[in-house]
């Protein structure tokens, strides 16, 4: 294979991986927009969702389809409890305090999952076909390609929904100016719950996809930290920017994997985020300065 061909192949695989990143990023941005916090528990929410899927599909032998539905319902329920019990009482508190709460929630979820399912890898039923997709003579792994397609459909659907629906208008209004949104009769607290539900959905789907592409481990959610770096890179208040950044990071990881030792793969998102923030504190596509932590 020629170096150019290899470069193209890695690029495509990387961008395909970026689809899931974009999906996770969307969940993070929605919560940021409504609750003004970085949700550091996003990765654990993903991971927990994947275990819900495992429990429903394998332990209770419901199969992948019903398993997915059960996982979605449980994930939404957990997100609503988190929002109600831990986030809502923190409204109006300093940014860093709320961020620390999300950290804490993440640790609790990790602890509980460790207690129930243990530290070892589990196999979940394959919902994605392995058969590779050939683009010309470029080989794209089947699972990655299909996960990408699903992620893109969900992301595009959600963005269109937020862009064109009345609920989307309410969400954007509440994010832009909560008091004025209230003055329009919008129940801002319900909007916040609603974004946690949406984040639970993107988290659940991305978690199950990740568990399919790789395996199901308690570390599954760590990737969300890279995504958080991505999100900061894209600019927290630009959904479009965040998505593009998701693909860029996926690509970058693949390309550094091609040229550099694997250790670099883990840190490239952070290095890139750091460089971008030094040059452009608002992120690549953001408009307002992010509160510094």
């Amino acid at each position: 294979m020629s170096p150019l061909q290899q470069f193209i192949e890695y690029s495509i695989v990387g961008i395909a991986a970026g689809g899931i990143y974009a999906l996770i990023a969307l969940g993070i941005v929605l919560i940021f927009k409504s609750s003004r916090t970085f949700n550091f528990a996003m990765g654990e929410m993903m991971m927990l969702s994947a275990y819900f899927f495992y429990a429903a599909a394998v332990t209770f032998a419901l199969g992948p389809f019903l398993g997915m539905i059960v996982a979605l319902v449980c994930s939404i329920a957990v997100a609503l409890v988190i929002e109600r019990v831990a986030i809502r009482p923190m409204l109006g508190r300093p940014f860093i305090a709320v961020v620390m709460v999300t950290f804490g929630i993440g640790s609790i979820i990790r602890g509980i999952v460790g207690m129930i399912w243990g530290p070892n890898d589990l196999q979940i039923p394959a919902i994605l076909s392995r058969s590779p997709i050939m683009l010309g003579d470029i080989f794209v792994p089947g699972k990655t390609a299909r996960a990408f397609a699903i992620a893109v459909v969900i992301v595009v659907g959600l963005i269109a929904y937020l862009r064109y629906s009345r609920a989307g208008v309410a969400l954007r209004a509440a994010a832009a100016d909560a008091v004025t949104a209230y003055s329009m009769g919008i129940d801002v607290r319900r909007i916040i719950s609603f974004t946690w539900v949406l984040a639970a959905i993107t988290g659940c789907i991305s978690g199950v996809l990740m568990a399919n592409v790789n395996t199901l481990t308690p570390h599954l959610g760590l990737v969300a930290l890279n995504v958080l770096a991505v999100v900061i890179l894209g600019g927290m208040n630009s959904i479009g920017g965040v998505l593009i950044a998701g693909f860029i990071i996926g690509w970058l990881e693949a390309i550094t994997g091609l040229f550099l030792p694997t250790e670099f793969r883990e840190i490239t998102p952070y290095i890139l985020a750091l460089i971008v923030l030094l040059v452009r504190p608002t992120g690549l596509f953001g408009t307002k300065e992010i509160e510094r932590i």
Binding site: R172, A176, V179, A181, Y182, S183, M184, G185
Partner: protein
């Protein structure tokens, strides 16, 4: 539905220590335009925030007094419930959603509607009062002129179809001609739709012209009230709010 708004002996404290209102009372009868005058920091906006239930959002609290409409206690309701009860506030500084289009701003206000009304019917009414908004409907609200933004802010109130509109300094930062145009439309809305208005203004000349009754507040308490004819003739009002020179009044 005798929608009389009554504020009685209101005391408001911010952050547990800053007393913004000490004893404020006012009444807005059905269908009337009542104005609330006072210097900067007198407590005008705070009064409106208390009525709309916004105080908790800013760490403020009503510590004494009552606010009722048609006998119903408003202090027990959340902000979105108060709007849906028919009291719509057009906030000081207009607060249009600048990154959303004119039409999306109006869509946001449909959440305040009490009775179902088709979007077309509601928007047509807005565009009838403010034709310029119709031309700009797909434009981001942030690119509108100050006057157009004020029109949009009042247009959102029209979408809600309220019993009462609280207007906080609609003349703020606008050229006299635009101010006159906007007040003419406010008066028309009041007349044609029987919407009562509580009008907060720094511009006492225009407020006294369009309102029928007025209250003057100083450091959080009502110090003077009366029909606007009576207030316009008052020497202190002439001196402090209408800028009439002392020798003219003497």
């Amino acid at each position: 539905m005798a929608a009389v708004l009554e504020v009685k002996d209101l005391e408001v404290v911010y952050q547990g220590v800053i007393q913004a209102l000490t004893s404020l009372s006012l009444t807005v009868p059905e269908g009337a335009i009542v104005t609330l005058l006072g210097a900067n920091g007198a407590g005008k906006t705070t009064t409106l925030k208390a009525i709309s239930g916004f105080l908790p959002l800013e760490d403020g609290r009503v510590t004494r007094g009552s606010i009722t409409i048609g006998g119903q206690d408003l202090l027990k309701l959340a902000p979105h419930q108060i709007v849906r009860r028919g009291i719509f506030q057009v906030r000081e500084g207009r607060h249009v959603f600048s990154e959303m289009t004119v039409e999306e701003n109006l869509i946001a206000a449909t959440f305040a509607q009490r009775a179902a009304r088709s979007r077309k019917e509601a928007f047509d009414e807005v565009y009838n009062y403010f034709p310029i908004l119709s031309q700009r409907r797909h434009q981001a609200a942030g690119y509108l002129s100050g006057g157009e933004q004020q029109m949009l802010a009042i247009g959102r109130a029209l979408v809600a179809d309220p019993e009462m509109i609280l207007l906080d300094e609609p003349s703020l930062g606008l050229a006299p001609l635009i101010v006159k145009e906007i007040f003419e439309i406010i008066a028309r809305i009041n007349r044609e739709k029987r919407v009562s208005m509580l009008l907060v203004e720094q511009n006492a000349v225009i407020a006294l012209k369009y309102a029928s009754y007025g209250y003057v507040i100083e450091s959080g308490r009502t110090v003077l009230e009366g029909t606007t004819e009576k207030l316009s003739a008052d020497q202190d009002i002439q001196k402090f709010y209408l800028g009439v020179e002392a020798h003219e009044a003497a």
